[in-house]
Symmetry: C2
Subunit: 190 residues, 2 copies
């Protein structure tokens, strides 16, 4: 998606330690026009899949998910990060690992809002190693819901998480795929 | 706002301990059509205020803020909950108290995205005691930004936080104001 690639090139900042800061438009300050365009494009690619629910994880996936759901005409649902290890019995849950904060955390979704009748599109702002998508997929499996695929704003393709998941059969549509990035040489897209 | 009041009456659930669960449409599962209508209505009330930025706090304010910002044609910005007490020098910050989790936490906003030129509309899903709004207001004050007012989905008016802030001069527009609620007698709106 050219609009997003241009924006990453112009406003994204690469820092040592494989950090791409896009918080001027994607995950702190939100450029609504851009998010709307991303939502429209992801929705168009899954328009014929009978999606009943868009599932993301808090907090930075929420904005993208809202605009995808808007174009698909279905609810969005965000998995919450559990505050305690004491998970209630009325949720689906899965453990994910955060490389940013170097810890494990549990994502939970109320059983009331996800079930065997659902056809789910997973949405997130970033896909790198694939941990978050794996946890969301596990939650859907637990719920008996069918995952039709994933819609991602920015995939760090060189980290391999996306291709591993594709090899396992998950359809993934990423609006921008980064082949390599470096604080001196900048960003190359796939 | 009748649409929201009806939805709260039909789908909201009151639990002991002053808990109103609206996670079927507002802060877990998201009814996009309803959120869009709330966004349109809040934006209409502040349409002539020259808002340059919609400011909310993660995670449950993000969806409402997105739709308000969409109608105002400006960016949204969400304050992040700081992971550590070690706050970097390039953020505006303020401490808020969570009655839900009974702890203090620090909200941060990057200095890059909020400054003296900004006219800010604060947005949140809930207003009860007013702690979150006070923290967002403090962040704007620190940044030298002007707060034009607040747009709230649901105000628990009987908790008094909203009226205290109004008495201090803050304009607050709440789409649904709850006068009282009780798990047996249900919900009464102002």
């Amino acid at each position: 998606m050219q609009l997003l690639e241009e924006r990453i090139r112009n406003s994204g900042k690469v820092f040592p330690g494989d950090v791409l800061k896009v918080d001027s438009f994607l995950n702190h300050q939100l450029d609504i026009e851009l998010l709307d365009a991303i939502g429209a494009e992801i929705a168009a690619r899954y328009g014929d899949c009978g999606v009943t629910k868009v599932l993301t994880s808090e907090a930075s996936g929420i904005a993208v998910a809202c605009f995808v759901a808007r174009y698909l005409g279905c609810p969005a649902l965000f998995a919450k990060k559990a505050k305690t290890s004491n998970i209630s019995s009325n949720v689906w849950s899965a453990v994910a690992h955060s490389y940013t904060h170097n810890n494990d955390y549990t994502m939970v979704v109320s059983r009331e809002y996800l079930g065997a009748d659902d056809r789910v599109l997973l949405v997130d702002d970033f896909l790198a190693n694939g941990c978050a998508l794996r946890a969301l997929t596990a939650i859907c499996r637990e719920a008996g819901a069918e995952v039709v695929g994933a819609g991602i704003a920015i995939e760090k393709a060189y980290q391999g998480g996306g291709d591993e998941l594709r090899a396992e059969g998950l359809r993934i549509e990423s609006m921008a795929k980064i082949a390599s990035m470096d604080e001196n040489d900048g960003i190359t897209f796939c």
